[in-house]
Symmetry: C2
Subunit: 331 residues, 2 copies
DNA sequence: ACGATTGCTGAGATCGATTGCAATCGAAGA
DNA sequence: TCTTCGATTGCAATCGATCTCAGCAATCGT
């Protein structure tokens, strides 16, 4: 019941603490017989090493913080899950930190991670603002970013190719006969959001389609704003690309509330490819981000970082997840 | 850049480390002038206390683990958010642990929390199984449970009144003219799931309604199984109560895939009252759990626990969130 | 004016582990 | 048989903080 320390085990096993320590952390440095004896005694006493003390002495721990802005967005939830799995598989203990988009909190977490002797940390930023705070620490801590950091090649990053994703969406919609394709941005401020926005304009231009951006008032529920905007369009688009799945959900929901149906009245394609989209009504067609790879690679980049390798900047390929929220245009 | 320790600050300020320590942790015990001087020097050096060392020496930290089975379920995501907020407001640092329903992991986390000197931990269990592992630790650690623990009154708990929630759903549906109300269970094994199941049967019996439970094969995607079951019913129910919002989503989605619409062909009511339900199509009517209170109260129970008070067992009241997935029965 | 009290600060042990260095021991090599 | 070497193990310093105890000054009561 009381905490059993390394000295208790040492005493019970009749050896010195250092032997116990070695039996656990460097098994080769101790005679096999001794080691087994120590381990057995330790097991009997229900001993397990205190990670805090260990981290303090060693100057390194296995706690890897994953800093995300908002767990309510299922994208981050899925990211957290896969990253946690990847982390655990490599012996790290993932610790999830939610910032609620608060710049100060992100800085706090990164600095806390510093004093926790984390080998490295992973940040999935929401707004560009908080990256500034991050950079102050990036040089002294080891940080991996999902998304990107402003012009700072020293920070390893992993991203999904937004332009390619938007192209995929365009090709799909074009193939379905749509020629009037709008874009519904959601949150703004991140690099990814900006990329998707830009990619939409480029793609529209390339295909000779007049770009229509369905903006909603910031802060408010985005659905109504976007749909209002859409209905006001003189030449009403027949398809819309949402900047992420949540926005797509909101649009479809609002459309339904007004008696319109998807995809009959409007084809909607999301961006994320969440599992949750398969439970939506209609099942959401979406550009799928390889979230599992994102998590795994973030961990790998972290390991590369502590190994002293050069910072990588990986770009992953999205793919298309065709479900039921898009359909062929029928005039 | 290098880690600045308490001794560095002490030297720079020309005082002993104990004075620096006191300046931070018990401001009254040090002269105002000295304290300010120390604090200023510390700020200049960019010093911040090392929580590990502090926890090690003090034998207590402010790290509160929140152990959840699955972040992919938005219920837990919302719970995590509100609990994190409540924790932070009280000076705790919430650390999220995802078990993926793995019994062993839950035990690991609880034991890790032990050696992290956490004041207490919060567990939101998914299956009843892992509660056994929990109990082995509960007596030596301080654990608060959201949901309940088998016959163990020593563990404080906070729950939502499932029976009341089901009643609310029944009353709503009955008021809409429905007389044939089915139940769609989801995950099983938790106390809450069992409660809702029982409550459904009681309510059905009380209202003279033949109970219809729409079970799906475990493991698989629940939507198709539930809908299949529903269609096979000789006397097809006109309304269904889902055991949680995710199940409701799945049912509605599957219905949509088969060309049926909600609420025209079937009224569906969920259980959770997630914000996400408002983005669903149709907007989901649901029994709302007071998730914010759940998180806050879990923290408060934890504090009561370390204060040495008797373990409480709180039961919160759900409420009805009427949106668009239910409608009056039209014969 | 003198012993007692109060307020503030310094010394040093301590939390639970790791690790470089020294000591020990048996066996191989000369 | 004596030296040397490698494999083990013990010793003690150390990581960065907290906390009890003691010392010392200024203040208080009478």
């Amino acid at each position: 019941m009381a905490e059993v320390s390394i000295d208790d085990v040492a005493k019970a096993a009749g050896v010195h603490r250092s032997t116990v320590s070695r039996a656990f952390s460097k098994p080769d440095a101790v005679r096999a017989a001794t080691r087994e004896h120590v381990l057995r005694v330790a097991a009997e006493l229900g001993y397990s090493m205190n990670p805090l003390a260990q981290a303090l002495r060693r100057g390194s721990s296995n706690l890897v913080p994953l800093i995300v802005p908002d767990m309510t967005n299922p994208f981050f939830a899925e990211l957290a899950r896969t990253t946690a799995a990847a982390a655990e598989a490599r012996g790290y203990q993932l610790m999830l930190c939610i910032t609620n988009g608060d710049t100060g909190q992100t800085a706090d977490y990164v600095s806390a991670m510093h004093s926790m002797y984390s080998p490295f940390g992973i940040v999935a930023p929401s707004t560009r603002v908080n990256l500034e705070a991050l950079r102050r620490y990036a040089f002294q801590n080891r940080v991996v970013v999902i998304d990107r950091v402003e012009d700072d090649p020293a920070v390893p990053t992993v991203t999904v190719d937004s332009a390619r994703g938007i192209d995929l969406a365009f090709d799909h919609l074009l193939g379905l006969g749509h020629a009037n394709i709008a874009y519904a941005p959601g949150i703004v401020g991140t690099y990814t959001a900006q990329d998707r926005w830009d990619a939409y304009h480029h793609a529209a231009e390339r295909h000779g389609i007049p770009p229509v951006v369905l903006e909603a008032a910031p802060g408010a529920d985005p659905g109504p704003g976007i749909v209002d905007h859409w209905m006001r369009e003189p030449n009403r688009p027949t398809a819309v690309i949402a900047s992420n799945d949540l926005i797509a959900f909101a649009v479809i929901s609002e459309l339904g509330a007004r008696g319109l149906t998807v995809p009959a009245d409007l084809s909607v394609i999301g961006f994320d490819g969440l599992d949750l989209g398969a439970q939506f009504s209609p099942r959401l067609t979406s550009v799928r981000q390889p979230i599992t790879d994102l998590g795994r690679i973030a961990i790998e980049l972290g390991e590369a970082l502590i190994a002293g390798g050069p910072p990588d900047h990986l770009v992953l390929e999205p793919s298309l997840l065709i479900r039921s929220s898009t359909q062929e245009l029928r005039p």
